[in-house]
Subunit: 132 residues, 3 copies
């Protein structure tokens, strides 16, 4: 298991971590298998989407904001209930396939750490399971 | 593969199953790897979130209720279409990492079985893949 | 890793790929483990839900449409931002357990490829990790 530290800078933000994941996989010299990207936080998430146009992550963030508005009524006193909901919906982990020692992503795919209640210091755990 | 039975008590409910997953992992004596938590139902799901404040799961449930309202128009005659949508969005499975024979979770993370169309008798399947 | 090609026929569509996944697993003759179903696209996804009543996938699509409306304001110029958001929420991958050489699904569960910005030619990658 490898731990990666990420510093987020706004309340809501998607940070491209593809090269960090790729470097960790290459370092391990696993030919094929899967890599699990897991975040141990309940107001953050991991997702895969497009980063070629930086407006895509911005639009995803605003689409989530509309679907889970900050202004709705919530019971949890910390005021970050929408962040918890987004975390459960986007999900605490992603997995990618490994082939020939590299992660397999589509042309437009990047791996993102999603901050929903920042800015904070965050962690990501990577685990590689070799296949055959 | 290990099967766990869960009895749900309301239409919508999040049940903390962390200790059940932890016990199953310890029983298997796998040092490191991943544990997959899978539910074989189409109106239920598995997620990871906070349980320290019981208002967090309550708020997640109400946020989902607002985003996928029971009162919208649906074609499926059983009246549980929002439950099917929530199941696909939250997801039928989660995976957690295993290190030193224990599941790795953040301080605030618990694993929840999500009931969206209860009360019912439900099942959860656990599968452990050892890594290195 | 096995590659499956799928042709979608509408802008938004859920295509049942259960038998394709089952055939790929049987072909590999893995007794137990997990099968990862991953799509390399940023406006598509993979999910598990009911297909016994074809109205269920139709209702899931319309529930997603309401939660992430095409008519909201977005910055990304291609006009498919809701498709990107749905892709991140439903998720680029699913995993299913393998027991006795077959995938383990609940009575009502099917595996679906989700098209959110079609019609297009799409790909799905399958990876099988054997467990014990």
């Amino acid at each position: 298991m490898k731990e990666i530290n990420v510093r987020t800078n706004s309340r809501t933000e998607m940070i491209d971590i593809t090269s960090l994941v790729q470097a960790a996989v290459e370092e391990r010299k696993v030919k094929s298998g899967i890599c699990v990207i897991f975040t141990p936080h309940t107001t953050a998430a991991v997702t895969i989407n497009e980063n070629a146009d930086p407006d895509v992550p911005i639009d995803i963030i605003s689409a989530l904001e509309r679907a889970f508005p900050q202004t709705a009524n919530y019971r949890h006193a910390e005021g970050n209930s929408p962040a918890h909901a987004k975390s459960s919906l986007v999900g605490a982990s992603e997995l990618v396939l490994i082939e020939d020692g590299r992660i397999v992503l589509g042309v437009w795919q990047s791996i993102f750490f999603c901050e929903f209640d920042g800015p904070r210091s965050r962690k990501i755990f990577l685990s590689i399971i070799s296949g055959d």
